[in-house]
């Protein structure tokens, strides 16, 4: 059974290889191959899951050693897999949601002539992410980590003819590189500290080393997680990543990529448990990002960017929970899984709306779509209820647990975190209600299709006639079925996981679990959560449901304008990093030109001048040489005599 683990990664990898090398003759079947191999990986995952359930809870870890990658004395890099309950959870999420997104893409990308290549990239993305979660050492994890970065670059920039998409892809890649530096430094530190980077030895030995080293490794891992999971301060790529096709956004936000940071922190839980300072940093990053993403989500008129802000915020919840230690790990992963369902559903719904609306993304130009796209409306609506944490749906169970754990983290920190998470829940309810009302309710604010020559936002392959009004229609079945499946997950997953603490018990052998004991009783917290949620919904309804929504966004207050510009993240990066970098390089170039070049050129000029003088001695006259010989001999003899005399 263990030997099947490699197959998990191999199936989508094979798909990527076949589709990317196969050429145009595969154009007609490429999407079926890609979907079939993603589904095959899911089936293997389910089979392994069934086998795993058959073992005792403590003995469920499966291992497979494929081969020694770098067999050097004292440096053992192996291609070896470890599938425990944590990895299993991720495998099922990645392959399950990934397969649904593959199916959805068949319909969504139908008119794109590069669909085969798109499916190749999707398979590559799945393979890299699966490698990341089943690796049994940090080196192989890093390999998958970089693979995810590459695949995300290729997919975000899939419509590379649009300069904005190409730039967004580069931005995502470069910002991720900053995080990757953190991971590589962390792995190097691990190697110098423990002499290995296999999960087992490293995570068992964390108690034996100094706390300072653990803190350093923890902070570097946090930097890595910030890059991949779009946490402050490396969050700026996520909004721009919306330039990719919508299924890619769904994949990045639900199943792959942004969940990698949460996985890394949970997997390295032992390191963080041994480094309270690093844990505090993790919690702080999570709390800041949670509010940051939520505020950005409130101001965006682009439906995908509003959802992107929401992802940032929800991942902030998970990072925060993961930073709380054993009371939070299981809840972080649980929220990750439920979020995987409803966020994938929301993105696929957004894609479906765009599909029907001539690829318009501005929510101010939607309105009243619920009658025209009933399936999308219902599935999106269920995803909406789940994400705001409506009682009974998935998000309610998972988010409520995180809020409880935040309150239970003790002392002033507990109160601050509890308040932040509660506030975040309220803001989530507000901006998601806003998205819902603007898109599906109210009067029609549809605008004629823009002139494709003047705007670059129109996706290729879709015929847009300038000046034509959109004809919203329900999407084809290949798109609605995945949405329906995900809607089921959004509704029932949380409840299913919470009955008898199933999910927590399932993960407990890997992540440990301490029962949180919040200072105020759990029903009160739940009541407060629901109250805050209803307040958020009510405010959004009063603002957007009661009065007509202007098609052109009003100027808004200073805060709104800042939030529209992603709370000035790009301006900050530009002023501090880009300008700073430019000044640094300019001064370095100046130093290079004056100092370094000066020394080099000066030396060369001196040697040149001296040799020019010396050359004159070589005049070709034998008698001159004879004189120098006699002179030299005379000096030598004189020196010898002098030395002897002394």
């Amino acid at each position: 059974m263990e030997n099947l683990i490699a197959l998990l990664v191999a199936a989508p990898l094979l798909g990527a290889a076949v589709l990317l090398c196969g050429g145009r003759r595969l154009d007609r079947v490429g999407h079926w191959i890609g979907t079939a191999l993603a589904a095959a990986s899911f089936v293997v995952g389910v089979v392994l899951f069934g086998a795993m359930l058959g073992y005792d809870a403590e003995a469920r870890t499966m291992r497979q050693h494929l081969y020694s990658w770098i067999p050097v004395e004292g440096f053992q890099g192996d291609i070896a897999f470890q599938l425990d309950q944590l990895s299993m959870t991720f495998v099922l999420l990645i392959t399950g949601v990934g397969t649904l997104i593959h199916i959805y893409s068949i319909g969504y990308m139908e008119h794109d002539e590069r669909r085969r290549r798109f499916f190749g990239y999707l398979n590559l993305f799945l393979a890299a992410m699966l490698l990341l979660v089943v690796a049994d050492n940090y080196l192989l994890l890093y390999f998958g980590w970089e693979g995810v970065g590459l695949a995300s670059y290729l997919l975000i920039g899939f419509w590379q003819h649009k300069p904005s998409a190409a730039t967004a892809a580069k931005k995502a890649f470069i910002v991720n590189r900053v995080g990757d530096m953190g991971l590589s430094i962390a792995i190097m530190l691990m190697f110098t500290t423990f002499g290995t980077f296999a999960f087992g030895p490293v995570l068992e030995a964390t108690g034996e080393t100094s706390e300072g080293k653990m803190t350093a490794i923890g902070l570097m891992l946090l930097l890595a997680a910030c890059g991949k999971s779009a946490q402050v301060p490396l969050q700026s790529w996520l909004g721009d990543a919306m330039e990719g096709p919508t299924p890619v956004s769904a994949l990045i936000h639900a199943a792959t990529m942004v969940t990698a940071g949460v996985y890394l922190i949970t997997r390295s839980g032992a390191i963080f448990n041994a480094a309270p300072d690093a844990q505090t940093a993790v919690v702080a990053v999570g709390a800041v990002t949670l509010l940051f993403g939520a505020i950005v989500g409130c101001a965006k008129d682009d439906i995908k960017k509003a959802l992107a802000g929401s992802t940032m915020s929800q991942i902030g919840y998970m990072i925060l929970a993961a930073g709380l230690g054993p009371i939070g790990y299981a809840f972080a992963i649980m929220h990750l899984v439920t979020h995987g369902f409803f966020k994938a559903g929301l993105f696929l719904g957004a894609g479906s709306v765009m599909h029907g609306m001539n690829d318009e993304v501005d929510m101010r130009k939607y309105g009243g779509l619920r009658k025209y796209m009933p399936v999308t409306f219902v599935t999106f609506g269920l995803g909406y209820l789940a994400i705001i944490g409506f009682p009974g749906l998935s998000g309610f169970f998972s988010k409520d647990k995180i809020i409880e754990a935040a309150f239970a983290s003790g002392g002033a920190q507990g109160w601050i975190l509890g308040t932040v998470t509660l506030l975040g829940a309220g803001i989530t309810a507000y901006y998601m209600t806003r998205v819902m009302i603007l898109t599906f309710f109210g009067e029609k604010r549809w605008q004629p299709a823009p002139d494709p020559d003047k705007t670059a936002s129109v996706e290729p392959g879709i015929e847009v006639h300038p000046g034509e009004m959109p004809h919203p229609h329900e999407s084809p079945r290949s798109m609605t079925i995945p949405m329906i499946v995900l809607a089921f997950g959004s509704v029932f997953a949380g409840g299913f996981f919470s009955i008898g603490d199933r999910f927590v018990n399932w993960l407990e052998p890997v992540t440990q679990f301490d029962h949180p004991h919040p200072p105020i009783s759990v029903p009160v917290i739940t009541g407060m959560t629901v109250a805050v949620l209803l307040a958020g919904v009510a405010i959004a309804y009063l603002q957007y449901g009661r009065k007509p929504v202007p098609v052109v966004a009003p100027r808004g207050s200073f805060v709104t304008r800042a939030a529209r510009r992603d709370l000035l993240q790009d301006d900050f990066n530009h002023v501090v990093l880009v300008r700073g970098g430019e000044h640094l390089t300019r001064s370095l170039v100046y130093v290079d030109h004056t100092l370094v070049d000066g020394v080099v050129n000066g030396t060369a000029a001196t040697v040149g001048g001296l040799s020019g003088r010396l050359r004159k001695l070589q005049n070709g006259y034998a008698r001159t040489y004879a004189v120098s010989m006699f002179g030299g001999t005379a000096i030598l003899i004189a020196a010898t005599l002098l030395m002897r005399a002394v």
Binding site: R615, Q618, N619, G620, Y621, A622, R623, A626, V627, F630
Partner: protein
Amino acid sequence: MNPVNYLYLAALLFTIGAAGVLIRRNAIVVFMCVELMLNACNLAFVAFSRMHGNLDGQIIAFFTMVVAAAEVVVGLAIIVSLFRTRHSASVDDASLMKL
């Protein structure tokens, strides 16, 4: 007779030879001056041999003669071919071996 006088003579001959090498332009004369220096050395060696009462100096004098004979062969051949090509035996004319 005091053997030191032979050393004075050798030094005188060597100086004449050296001055000739440095001053004269005619290759034959320069060549003869070199020979004069070699023979001055030989004289000094033999004189030292006599002064110290062993034969080392005399043996080295023989070596010098052999080297000098070989040098005469090569040197004269060079001078003859130089004269044939340039119709001149001046050492300053052969000054092309420079940068």
